[in-house]
Amino acid sequence: MSILVNKDSRIVVQGITGSEGQFHAEQMLDYGTNIVAGVTPGKGGIKTLDDRVPVFNSVEEAVEQTGANTSIIFVPPPFAAEAVIEASFAGIKVVVCITEGVPVHDMLKVKKVVDQNGTRLVGPNCPGIITVDECKLGIMPGFICKKGNIGVISKSGTLTYEAIDQLVNVGLGQTTAIGIGGDPIIGTTMKDCIELFEADPETKGIVVIGEIGGQMEIEAARWAKDNVSKPMVGFIAGQTAPPGRRMGHAGAIVSGGDDTAEAKMRILGECGIAVAESVADIGNLMKAAMEKS
């Protein structure tokens, strides 16, 4: 078990003939990911990546001819929102949007559409999902992961890698690691992922990594307080971030009230999550929490 994706997921890569799509599709194939199709409008009929992946003109065609049920999107920002909507209307169940820089007004509409169609969207502006040794649906370095029983949820890419690395160093492997993205509007929230990990019998502990801006960590923690039986460790980046400045991610900005690192850390703690004050403590805290449980 794992969440969202596994070795049976049938992947279609949207934007597979672009440079990002080519590079990462190859990396995913090398990891063993079951890529069954690619989509680039106008390039349907060819095969790409050493003839390993057939390319279609639309997601609909890819679904009809290959039974694709999961998509990953590498198309440029002006077209990314529409690519998600196309996948959703083609009946794709899980869509990961890697693209960085999708306009927020586009995402507001996309979010409504995927919710109405029952599509699970992860991202945009995220590193994707990896179910260890089964499916890498994203851009993270697969080799740093080790199979195990910790679920990892993070708003940030490299900070996810840092957490995974620390977990491996203390002898803890992962079931699935998921980067949900740092934009103001994203498809799958921290709470959604916690809910999935709680329901996954193979996952025994959960790491959540958040940052300044928004209320997502707080909503997740409050939900977890009453609904999660598994040990949880949390970290919030941005304790030293000045208010009013956007720290890289479009969503990482302290605009007052409960969205500071301090407030989030306090509330996570109150909800029973072991909070790492230093980023270097994530692995050790999870280890201690697992030994206690």
Partner: protein, 392 residues
């Protein structure tokens, strides 16, 4: 991206909103003619002289002056152009006023507040109005929240008339003024949508003594990610209002924000960059900057990153913290060697490289003979760079 009041009003006017308007001057010798032109074109004796900077609180800081006649207007204009305007949003340093907006003046009966922004939790835009305009809305929200009315707008439907009606009623308006306000609120939403704004705020929206509803101020922030489809608005960017180092960094796709400390840092990824700043603080130091080199850190990016970090004279030591995913550590290491050799660094540099090709990277650094301090793990790296900054 932020724009000036006069630019925001121009955008609003394009959507039919009635704005208090005028002309802008940037040179002292143009002050006289600008004031006279406003007086003539808007058929008015009295005018308002308004400093144009990208920060709120201009009035309180002395950057907005009502001027009953030409002489007073000229005096105010001369005082405001070139002043260092300090407001609660500029910080202690203040902001130099390079542009002055001279506008028509209105006799105000009532002042209201109107704003649209994103409600992240609800995944919808929220339109807020208050009968308490002209003051800090944060204060109204804290002390008399019942005086703020809100509607949430379905992104697929857009704002509906009943929602605009609710807001206009909340302002206590009647008759023609009610109808005018409703129309303005709808236009304001269309502007917000059409220009891909992240915030539009009118504070105050006024009712004049002769019953007209007029936009007296405009705060407009735009979604940087959507500027590709608004070339005309992108051209409104005023680089004078931004930190020169941040502008310089942007040219190389680096995301840099200057802070007040003395430990510089260069990191890949925004989350890890923030976490690095935090752990520097925990180790007893103060971060001098946020710098995300992004997903494609090359030798060139690293070199430019160094240059920008070191342009801050407070920096006493630098930490490079890279977790290679797509970014290959060996390339970063080559960049470090090249930068240190070419720039001849006078501060100590601590390097922590993990992930893709980290071993090769360590060999490159070891063989190069450049004087850097290697670190393993974030805690070690933070401690070493703080020690270096303190001169230990």
């Amino acid at each position: 991206m932020k724009i000036h009041e006069y630019q925001g009003k121009k955008l609003f006017a394009d959507f039919g909103m009635p704005v208090q308007d005028g002309y802008v001057f940037e040179k002292l010798e143009d002050a006289e003619s600008t004031i006279k032109k406003v007086q003539a074109d808007f058929n008015t004796e009295d005018v308002v002289v308004k400093a144009q900077i990208h920060a709120g609180g201009r009035g309180k800081g002395g950057g907005v002056k009502y001027s009953p006649n030409f002489d007073k207007a000229l005096e105010n204009a001369k005082n405001i152009l070139g002043m260092n305007l300090k407001t609660h949003q500029t910080g202690e340093g203040g902001q130099l006023v390079r542009k002055v907006y001279v506008t028509e003046a209105y006799d105000i009966a009532e002042e209201y507040y109107a704003a649209i922004t994103l409600d992240r939790s609800k995944g919808m835009d929220v339109f807020m109005v208050s009968s308490e305009g002209g003051v800090e809305i944060e204060k109204v929200a804290a002390e008399t929240p019942e005086k703020i009315a809100k509607v949430w707008i379905d992104p697929l439907l857009g704002m509906k008339s009943f929602q605009a009606r609710k807001l206009a009623y909340a302002l206590g308006l009647k008759g023609d003024a009610f109808k005018a306000a409703m129309k303005i609120l709808m236009q304001m939403y269309h502007a917000y949508q059409s220009i891909d704004a992240t915030i539009v705020e009118v504070n105050p929206l006024i009712l004049t003594t002769d019953g007209r509803v007029i936009v007296l101020d405009a705060k407009v922030n735009l979604d940087d990610n959507a500027l590709f489809r608004h070339k005309d608005i992108a051209a409104m960017r005023d680089l004078n209002e931004e930190d020169p180092n941040e502008v310089e960094a942007g040219k190389f796709n680096l995301n840099y924000i200057k802070l007040d400390g003395n430990v510089g840092c260069m990191v890949n990824g925004a989350g890890l960059a923030m976490a690095t700043m935090d752990i520097i603080k925990l180790a007893g130091g103060e971060p001098a900057n946020f710098l995300d080199v992004g997903g494609t850190a090359s030798a060139e990016t690293v070199k430019n990153g160094f240059r920008i970090i070191l342009s801050d004279e407070n920096v006493k030591a630098v930490l490079i913290n890279i977790f290679g995913g797509i970014v290959r550590c060996d390339r970063v290491a080559n960049g470090v060697v090249q930068a240190v050799t070419e720039l001849g660094l006078k501060v100590q540099v601590v390097v922590r490289l993990e992930g893709t090709n980290a071993k090769e990277a360590q060999e490159i650094l070891a063989k190069s003979g450049v004087d850097i301090i290697p670190a393993v793990g974030m805690k070690d790296a933070a401690q070493k760079v703080v020690n270096a900054a303190l001169g230990n």
